[in-house]
């Protein structure tokens, strides 16, 4: 039993990345059937996604005010302007802070809640729906409520912290506090997504493993650490990559809660991009920023891939 378990873990740790095929025999027939299975997706992608992606790359070397039908070539000017703009580096810093503030918190919280929801509970359906509600609610409505929660005079949050003897914090008007406030709202708004994903992942783990471990004398923590976590790794990898990508691209909630303020303290990358595109009508520059973001995300994803590959779960 133990050896099968270990074999299974090593299988899953490697296949979470999908690199588990024997090198060598790549048959023609496989390519043909692969194409068949991929064809609907590939056709749609080729038509609607590849062109915009390449066109925006092309645009990043031009200037275009979007109303006219002409673009003017400017070479690397957009990129060099971006790298020499102190605003840009500030914005990049804020984005990193936001991402590293929300992603770990989000993942831990959503895993904990998904795990708790897997236990014997009354009213699971209601609970899941209630915990998922923040994801459904529109950013505008959510921001109205959070702005009230953060109100310096009458907000609930300041009320709670005053019970612990802490002075009121001006959440949305203080540059440091605002980022914190944004992170909290960001986690609240999106943890439901990961909770659902983790729930689905947890369902896929067969009870027989837990039963076997129980017989072996494993306690709750051991079961969690040695069965749940490894078997969740494909899901975890997915969640980590997607959370990182979407945190880096956060826009909606920043726009409605703080609008990049106060004093630009919560301005993030896509916000910066958006204003250059639709306020200053510099779509070429905005595209350059988009591709810089793309490069960052590629690097970060590769780092995560390497991390998943090298983390080994107690395998013989």
């Amino acid at each position: 039993m133990t050896s099968l378990r270990n074999k299974y873990f090593s299988f899953l740790t490697r296949t979470s990345l999908g690199w588990n095929f024997k090198k060598g025999r790549v048959s023609r027939r496989n390519l043909w059937s692969a194409l068949l299975f991929l064809s609907p997706t590939l056709i749609i992608f080729a038509t609607f996604i590849i062109f915009p992606v390449f066109f925006s790359f092309y645009l990043s070397f031009h200037e275009w005010n979007m109303f006219s039908s002409e673009t003017s070539f400017v070479g690397l000017k957009n990129y060099s302007r971006m790298l020499s703009d102190p605003d840009f580096w500030q914005v990049l810093k804020h984005t990193f802070i936001y991402t590293f503030g929300t992603v770990p918190l989000n993942m831990v919280l959503s895993l904990m809640i998904a795990y708790l929801l897997n236990q014997k509970l009354i009213g699971k359906k209601f609970l899941r729906t209630a915990l998922f509600a923040p994801v459904i609610i529109s950013p505008v409505s959510a921001a109205v409520i959070w702005r009230w929660l953060y109100d310096p005079n009458f907000g609930l949050i300041n009320y709670f912290i005053s019970l612990f003897g802490i002075d009121t914090i001006n959440w949305l008007n203080d540059p440091t506090a605002a980022m914190f406030a944004l992170i909290v709202m960001g986690v609240w708004k999106t943890f439901g997504v990961n909770m659902v994903l983790f729930s689905a992942g947890l369902q896929a783990i067969p009870d027989s493993y837990y039963d076997a471990a129980q017989i072996d004398g494993a306690g709750r923590w051991a079961k969690f650490w040695y069965i749940t976590i490894p078997l969740l790794s494909p899901t975890t990898f997915f969640i980590m990559v997607m959370s990182m990508i979407s945190s880096f691209q956060v826009f909606d909630i920043v726009y409605v809660l703080t609008s990049g303020g106060p004093l630009g303290a919560t301005k993030v990358l896509v916000f910066y991009l958006y204003e250059h595109a639709f306020k200053f009508f510099e779509m070429g520059y905005a595209s350059a920023v988009a591709y810089f973001l793309f490069a960052i995300l590629v690097v970060m994803t590769l780092i995560q891939v390497k991390y998943m590959k090298s983390s080994v779960y107690d395998v013989v």
């Binding site: 296949t15 645009l59 659902v196 997915f238 793309f294």
Partner: protein, 283 residues
């Protein structure tokens, strides 16, 4: 086991259960409270809304706000549009993403990993820069102001493909391999073996896709012109302009806009309840 020990075990079990319920219901309350606020505000009069600090309970109930929403614009038609588009795209994605995910998870072919990374890469470009060129694409196809513009680009998804691929990877190959030996075709394997086992993942994808399409504003804004083709989110925009927000109507409209999503979520939850286990594994 002595009687005393089992009683102690029972007490601590109940205690743990109570604690668990307390924690999770508090969390659920914190997350659902804003939603409740929305619903309460949707039946308030503007007098109750224009209060600082904000008040929770309405002093009088104005259920006719919902009627007024439907009178302000042809929301019935907007709903039909939104639901039709959302269902079509969801079903379409379930099909295309399962097929693509199967190829990435199960078939070994030349360029597989590179292609997969290209897929992932497309998610890393923010939509704000690709939306104008995407629009141009649809214009050249002549699809502006039609259902095709809202549906077809959404039929494939890198997110959905990625999601399903990860799930398919957790299903042991042994099951299909047994079927292949019996002469089963690849497609049959996908349909009869993988799909039933991946129901939680498919339900998850269905929820996210439905919600994403239903809540979309920007894309509908730029590809739709005529009023008959508008979606609910476009319709709700009429309650806000530069200076004024008609909160009572906006909240009422927003609440009704969440019902279809909640419905799909509730319905899809049955796939989250543990049922099917991988009984085919030899031990």
């Amino acid at each position: 086991m002595t009687a005393g020990k089992s009683k102690k075990n029972q007490m601590s079990k109940i205690g743990k259960s109570v604690l668990l319920h307390l924690i999770i219901y508090t969390a659920a309350l914190a997350t659902v409270a804003p939603f409740i606020w929305m619903i309460l505000t949707s039946v308030k009069s503007m007098n109750d809304i224009f209060v600082y600090p904000p008040k929770w309970w309405p002093s009088e109930f104005h259920f006719e706000n919902y009627k007024r929403v439907f009178e302000a614009a042809p929301f019935g038609r907007f709903y039909l549009n939104s639901i039709f588009v959302a269902i079509t795209v969801t079903l379409g994605q379930l099909i295309t993403c399962s097929m693509a995910a199967f190829a990435f998870a199960r078939l070994k072919f030349w360029g597989r990993d590179v292609l997969f990374f290209v897929f992932l890469g497309t998610m890393m470009i923010p939509y704000q820069v690709t939306m104008i060129p995407s629009f141009m694409m649809l214009y050249w196809l002549g699809w502006i102001d039609s259902y095709k513009a809202l549906i077809v680009p959404g039929l494939a998804s890198a997110f959905g493909t990625f999601l399903l691929r990860q799930f398919f990877l957790t299903i042991p190959k042994e099951l299909e391999e047994a079927a292949y030996i019996d002469g089963c075709s690849r497609f049959r394997a996908l349909w009869s073996i993988i799909i039933p086992l991946a129901k939680p993942a498919l339900a998850t994808l269905a929820i996210f896709t439905f919600m994403g399409v239903f809540n979309d504003f920007i894309w509908a804004l730029i590809v739709i012109n005529s009023e008959e083709m508008r979606t609910v989110q476009l319709g709700l925009a009429i309650f806000r302009d530069r200076y004024i927000t008609e909160w009572d109507l906006l909240m009422a409209g927003s609440v009704t806009a969440t019902f279809p999503i909640l419905f799909v979520f509730f319905f899809a939850q049955k796939y989250f309840i543990k049922g099917i286990t991988l009984s085919g594994l030899k031990e």
